[in-house]
Symmetry: C2
Subunit: 166 residues, 2 copies
DNA sequence: TGGATACTTAGAAAATTTCTCAGCTGCAAG
DNA sequence: CTTGCAGCTGAGAAATTTTCTAAGTATCCA
C-alpha cells in the first residue's frame, strides 16, 4: 500500500482525472504506475517502478513503463529528471520545487523553493546576455553534496559520478 | 586549430600543468582531448569528441575518450553534465557558472552567475530542512527554455525531452 | 637507457531507452 | 449490451551510451 499520506492520495486522484481529461485511456498499467509515482517522493527510475509493480502485474513489460511515463509527462502529470548520469528519474510532484542530489549514491530529495525565490523574469536579462534569443520557460536549482548516510561514511576519496558505489 | 581565443589557451595550459600535478601521465590522447574540451564552449559529448579527434588520431578508441574524461574529472579539470536525457556533456569551464538548456535541441550555453548570486551558506538551512544531514557542496542552476533557432521554428507542439527533434 | 606503472586498444558486455508490430482492450456510440 | 476502433500492451529486437577485460604499448623516473 504505497499511499499512506493524504497528499499522495490527492495527487493520485488528480492524476486520474487529468489522465482522462488528456484523452488518455485508463488502463490498469497506467493506474498502477501513476499511483506508485504519486506515492513515492524518492523519484524512482523506470527500472525501480518496473521491479515494484511486476509482482502484482507479471505480464507488464518494460516498454509499457516507458510508454506510460512518456504519456504522463506529455500530459503534464510528471516530469523526467536528468540529475545524474544513468537512469532518468520520474517526479509526479508538479509544484515548483528543487532537488538535493547526493554525489555518491544518487539519492534525490525534494527541496521546496526557498523564500528568496525570485520570479523567472528576474533571470531573463542575465540569461539573454549569454544566450541571445533564448526564451526562458523555467529555472531549476540542483543542490549537490552528500546525503546524511554518505557523509557519515566517506572513505579515502569520494566519487563524483553518482549512482556508483564502488 | 580549435583554440583561437586566449581564454581557451590559458585553460589548456592550466590543464596541462594540472594533469601533471595530478600524477596523470601526459599522453597524446589526453592532450588532444583536453585541448579540444578547453577550446569548446558547447560542452561536447564523448561521441562528439571522438568524431572530431578521430581524423587526427585514427587509432584512438572510444574507451579512451571515456577514460580520459573520467581522469580529467577526477583531477578536477572538467565536469560531466547531466542536463538532459541521453549522452553526458563535458565542461572544462571550472569557474562558477550556470547553464541554459534548450528543451528541443538540447543546446547548452554557459550563463555567468548573476549578480544576485547568493553564497552557498544561504541555501543550507533551506536544504537541511528538507534533507536533514545533507552536506551541501554546490548549487547549480539550469535555465530551461528554447534556444533562438528552436523558438523561431516551433511547430504544433514542442517536445519536452531534449535531443530528439522529430 | 630500462623498468615499473599506468595507459591505450579493440571488442565484448552491460545498462538504459526506443522501436516494431501483432494482438488486445477501454470506451463511446449505437 | 454489443460493436468498432483508436489506442494501448507485450515481447523482443535494436539503438544508444557507458563500462569492462585482456593484452600490448608508452610514459616517466631513476
Amino acid at each position: 500500500m504505497p499511499n499512506a499520506c493524504p497528499e499522495a492520495e490527492a495527487r493520485y486522484a488528480e492524476m486520474l482525472a487529468r489522465v482522462r481529461a488528456s484523452g488518455l485511456k485508463l488502463t490498469p498499467q497506467r493506474l498502477a504506475i501513476a499511483r506508485e509515482l504519486a506515492g513515492d517522493p524518492t523519484h524512482p527510475t523506470a527500472q525501480e517502478l518496473f521491479e515494484r509493480l511486476r509482482p502484482g502485474m507479471p505480464t507488464m513489460s518494460f516498454a509499457t513503463v516507458y510508454n506510460t511515463l512518456d504519456a504522463l509527462a506529455a500530459a503534464g502529470l510528471c516530469v523526467s529528471l536528468s540529475l545524474s548520469p544513468g537512469a532518468a528519474r520520474f517526479d509526479a510532484n508538479m509544484t515548483p520545487h528543487n532537488h538535493a542530489v547526493c554525489d555518491r549514491c544518487g539519492l534525490v530529495r525534494d527541496v521546496p523553493s526557498c523564500a528568496n525565490g525570485e520570479p523567472i523574469t528576474e533571470f531573463a536579462p542575465c540569461v539573454n546576455a549569454a544566450a541571445p534569443g533564448f526564451s526562458l520557460r523555467a529555472v531549476e536549482r540542483i543542490y549537490r553534496g552528500l546525503c546524511e548516510a554518505c557523509a557519515a561514511d566517506v572513505p579515502t576519496a569520494f566519487r563524483t559520478r553518482a549512482g556508483k558505489p564502488r
